[in-house]
Point group: C2
Chain length 355, copies 2
DNA sequence: GACGGTAGTCGAATCGATTCGATAAGGTGA
DNA sequence: TCACCTTATCGAATCGATTCGACTACCGTC
């Protein structure tokens, strides 16, 4: 009998001998209801084990579901092995949770780099955040815009009617490159994040470079080239320690004469991998090779070294996203936001070895 | 005019000169519609930029929202620094995503160890997974049961009408303890996960041990005591590398005579911290002290050591949870599941130092 | 004592779809 | 030619709440 038919607002109203509309007012917390009436309704609700208005029915009228989607461009286990993604979402929920809004994970899988249309189509969404991915030609994005779901993109894609929240990636790496140049480095190599999530690994050629790909990767590469001109860029297949190590081994396992004296990784996680590669090749950091990262991520397992990196305010970025979402849901159109970054010099960069 | 009023099924039906019910049939993919009619409806939808039936309205009738909540007993940044949580949810989404069901994050914050009632009350949920927490006396749990939302609990809480998915924690650590005993260890200490998320740290006294707390902690401690009898247990405030290091330093920074010859951490992340502590104290592992963990987590940054640990099938556990959720939503009541674990002996345990 | 005002409650329309029984059109067999 | 069956479409009720205009007392005021 219990889950046979759960009580509805109408049931409660009937038991309290009031109209459904009055009962509704009670649960909405209106002050236009007489205290005696309110108590009667609440008592009836308690008697019947009524847990409050059905969220779905409420959403139908109010045009709000309290659900915000987070598009993750990979399977969770991969995306969340990067503390940056996690911190970002942490900032988002910090703002959204108190408003009674939850974050719905929309991960991709091994093949697709985002949710399927079938997934998106069936879920009630007030807004969507592109959290860790974002190519301009995403079919899911088109679907969302057609449905009128507002979108916030973190670091891309840059599209009309999508609120952008990002950082000056290019200026950040440019600053880092300046630091390396000042130290005397001339032979620098870059370890890039995936240009597309298609499993490609290796030196980035002109053709691949020309294709559609992440704004982030492009900008962070350009920042280095602003100082050093064209540099070899080794693409990884994922933002993961192992991938960084693999790339590092490729770049560093060569005679000292042709070896880069500094490696700029496009994330701290990749940089951690490069450090491991250097270690396993018997190269000292920074005496034999300098290593730098990007993000300023908290990697509690990384010490004793302190990574030279470009620090971005990741959690704050998440909060900004959260506020942008709040605005959009309220019908306001927030401005794009570009947060600031700064160079943090650690113990992993130093003068190049004498040649 | 565009977001003025988005087209509805009725609009589309009118334009295609059919009844709304027929148009509905088209979008439901029914084969009882004449192909010509179907094409007309689809054409009308395309003309109007109609993106398919509104998920909220659909949910109202079908009593399904396509949203499953994941209760996280901490803020995301903390909970997801543990690869085990992430892998678990990865397994869950792996099963749920293809069914068009999404996972809604319901994190706690610094103070509360789960979502507020306000958060829960406003969100449409088909089911809820207690992913990384679970005390029996959780008010959120009561609310959910009253609302008739089915609940799956991972490793607890154990309550009526909640499907339980877990592992034989006690047998796992017992096996590990056996291994240590076989090596000759007699003085063993345990580094426990938080008994409650209240920031407490330090040696677990009788009083605290008697209070309500995590099943997991209790079982994993008992497993060790099955072999060694009462052992000192040092509680951490969070499942994090830094916490493990802190605990490790407390336990190991004593003269060799009183120092435990083996430390059993209740998670691999904590064990990693203990390893760091040993390292910074100049203790060799396993020559001076053996260290073991629990989970069999992938910590790509951990090598060159291979941690001795109790391996649980985390991703598979997530899949099992996903299937349990599927069953519950379909109205079936799945059985509780206890998955298997096995000992994996690595390079961090060995005979105790000669005394 | 008639009138304006207010506090509290109620009715009915609405949100956007789904679903099932009814119905009309068209086809078959005796 | 008529009864019967199938196929495609339609109508209307339903899911569970919200919301706003309308209505009823009841009070105070001139």
């Amino acid at each position: 009998m219990s889950d046979r038919s759960r009580p509805t607002l109408a049931t409660v109203a009937a038991r309290a001998a009031v109209a459904p509309s009055t009962a509704s007012l009670v649960f909405a917390g209106s002050d236009r209801v007489a205290p005696a009436t309110r108590d009667r309704v609440l008592a009836a609700a308690a008697d019947l084990g009524y847990a409050g208005p059905d969220p779905v029915a409420r959403s139908l009228r109010s045009r709000r579901s309290g659900v915000v989607g987070a598009v993750i461009g990979d399977r969770l286990a991969h995306a969340f092995s990067d503390p940056v993604s996690v911190q970002l979402l942490d900032g988002v929920t910090e703002v959204l949770s108190p408003l009674g809004v939850g974050l719905l994970l929309l991960p991709g899988d091994a093949d697709r780099h985002g949710p399927t249309l079938a997934q998106l189509a069936h879920v009630p969404l007030d807004a969507v955040v592109y959290a860790t991915c974002g190519l301009e030609d995403d079919p899911a994005l088109v679907h969302l815009q057609r449905r009128g779901v507002p979108v916030v993109a973190v670091d891309g894609p840059c599209v009309d009617d999508v609120v952008f929240v990002g950082i000056p990636d290019r200026r950040g790496t440019a600053e880092l490159a300046g630091h390396l140049a000042d130290l005397g480095h001339r032979r620098v190599a870059v370890v890039t994040l995936p240009l597309r999530l298609d499993g490609t690994r290796g030196l980035v050629g002109a053709a691949r470079r020309a294709g559609t790909h992440h704004r982030t990767v492009r900008e962070r590469t350009l920042g280095v080239e602003d100082t050093f001109g064209p540099v070899p860029a080794w693409e990884t297949a994922a933002n993961a320690v192992e991938e960084g190590e693999r790339a590092g081994r490729q770049l560093l396992d060569v005679p000292a004469g042709g070896r880069p004296t500094a490696v700029v990784a496009q994330s701290d996680v990749l940089a951690a991998g490069v450090l491991r590669a250097a270690d396993s090749l018997g190269l000292r950091v920074p005496e034999d090779v300098s290593v730098a990262g990007f993000d300023g991520a908290e990697l509690p397992w990384l010490p004793p070294v302190r990574l030279t990196t470009v620090v971005q305010p990741t959690t704050e970025k998440g909060r900004v996203v959260g506020r942008a979402v709040t605005d959009l849901v309220a019908g306001r159109r927030p401005d794009d936001v570009v947060l600031d970054v700064h160079l943090s010099v650690g113990t992993t960069t130093g003068p190049p070895p004498p040649s």
